[in-house]
């Protein structure tokens, strides 16, 4: 159903209609999810996901109506997926490690951006960095799916992860690029690159059967 929503959006019907369709479906078929979905819908979490997936459509609304629900969902999803594939004695370490990397990394990148003269507030920046994890989370999901079909070879994983990394960087630059002084934009992008690179690398090295 969610995949259908994405297809509708990509083929031009628009993200908002697709989201409403998805929400309507979820509320009618799983009433228990009312409260959670209502909360996410109230904070326009799904809309922000689409803004990240299709960066050219962004209208900076993500900056004005920032929230941490989306980043939390993505972080938990990523941590759970990487935890699943980790060795038995490292499952909890991987789960907590992903949490620490995502939140501490976002905090460090944001602080660096502020110190370089960025105009965004702390939580706006953390929100954007968190939402822009979506391509990498999607990449992880794709790799897991390919692994089920024994297709997750190293080259395939490399391509998926690199694509996710480029997408995440492109999307985050679309939101955060204007908030930096022109002569320091590269200095603000570099830690952002390191942040997404480390997460991409964690996704790449997860033990999956190819």
């Amino acid at each position: 159903m969610w995949g259908g929503c994405v297809c509708v959006c990509v083929h031009g019907t628009g993200g908002r209609e697709a989201m409403e369709l998805a929400l309507h479906y979820a509320l009618n078929h799983a009433p228990g999810t009312h409260a959670a979905l209502g909360l996410l819908y109230q904070h326009q979490v799904f809309e922000k996901f689409f803004m990240v997936l299709i960066p050219r459509l962004n209208n900076k609304r993500i900056l004005h109506d920032w929230d941490l629900w989306g980043p939390l969902i993505l972080c938990v999803t990523l941590a759970m997926m990487l935890r699943d594939t980790a060795r038995d004695d490292q499952k909890s370490l991987v789960f907590s490690g992903v949490f620490v990397i995502v939140w501490c990394g976002a905090a460090v990148v944001t602080l660096n951006s502020k110190l370089l003269g960025g105009t965004l507030s702390f939580f706006q920046s953390v929100c954007v960095l968190g939402y822009c994890l979506l391509p990498l989370v999607a990449g992880t999901l794709i790799i897991r799916t390919l692994a089920l079909m024994s297709l997750a070879s190293v080259p395939v994983r490399s391509v998926v992860v690199l694509l996710g990394l480029a997408w995440a960087l492109f999307a985050s630059m679309g939101f955060l690029g204007d908030s930096q002084p022109v002569n320091r934009k590269a200095l603000a992008v570099y830690p952002m690159f390191l942040f997404y690179f480390v997460i991409s690398w964690l996704i790449f090295v997860q033990p999956v059967s190819d």
Partner: protein, 257 residues
């Protein structure tokens, strides 16, 4: 009588309460107790209020002093071309003039280099199959890199203090931080070309150049030449050998040697 009855009520503030009339002799003990209780209560409240306001004021001052990023902003006041030039200059062991070339106190480059080294080290550790018994590779890499940057700088600062080198701790942090460029490059070479002697070559050339640059900074800032030579040698040896240690300890895929 009504005065005596109303006196002990809580709704009258202590400051507005009047002393009892002398004709109410029968009520004096209870009145005195109520008065002292009211005074104690008012005094306690006032002391508590004063303590609260003083504490909150101190907390605000502490927050204002330590939580403002403005305090750190001067150390991040740098532009792209300056960072690029400093990265390149970290390999050029020219002796800086004591008066003309002041050592900057910028921290953006060093901090990013430490994070880059963490990434490179992590990459190499995973690539070579390094096992960490307690903890994670990420935690180990962070501890190693920040440990060297801050711990190494502290050791250099100690020697600088002993040998009268006129460098502040921030200047030493800057110098050590930019010295990590060679670490990143050499360890990246070791990871990309495992089992070859490429690391040795990079260590011999780039590692030496970087260590020599650091040693010259310390040497040029020491008044006495002999002492400058000692502190420069110490810095050179520590910086150069630690790179080799990182390679041997965390890049287990080694060549035929």
């Amino acid at each position: 009588m009504s005065t005596a009855i109303d006196f002990g009520e809580d709704d009258i503030p202590p400051s507005q309460r009047q002393p009892s009339q002398p004709q109410d002799q029968a009520n004096m003990p209870s009145l005195g107790g109520a008065l002292s209780a009211a005074m104690m209560s008012g005094l306690g409240q006032q002391i508590a209020g004063n303590m609260w306001s003083a504490g909150s004021e101190q907390a605000k001052q502490a927050y204002g002093a330590y939580a403002r990023v403005d305090l750190l902003r001067p150390y991040f006041d740098v532009e792209v071309h300056q960072v690029r030039a400093r990265l390149l200059r970290s390999f050029l062991p020219t002796r800086p003039s004591r008066d003309v070339d002041p050592v900057p106190t910028e921290l953006y480059g060093p901090l990013m280099l430490v994070f880059s080294l963490v990434t490179v080290l992590l990459f190499g550790m995973k690539h070579s199959g390094t096992e960490v018994r307690e903890g994670t590779l990420m935690g180990t890499a962070l501890a190693i890199c920040f440990g060297y940057w801050i711990g190494g700088s502290s050791i250099y600062f100690f020697f600088a203090y002993i040998f009268n080198t006129s460098l502040s701790f921030l200047q030493i942090l800057y110098t050590t931080g930019y010295g990590l460029v060679a670490y990143c490059v050499c360890l990246l070479v070791a990871t990309m070309l495992p089992g070859s002697n490429a690391f040795l070559l990079a260590w011999a050339v780039l590692g030496s150049l970087s260590a020599a640059k650091m040693a010259l900074v310390f040497f040029s800032r020491t008044a006495d030449r002999k002492q400058g030579l000692i502190v420069g040698s110490v810095v050179f040896v520590i910086h150069w050998v630690y790179l080799f240690y990182l390679f041997r300890a965390y890049h287990m895929i080694v060549g035929p040697w």
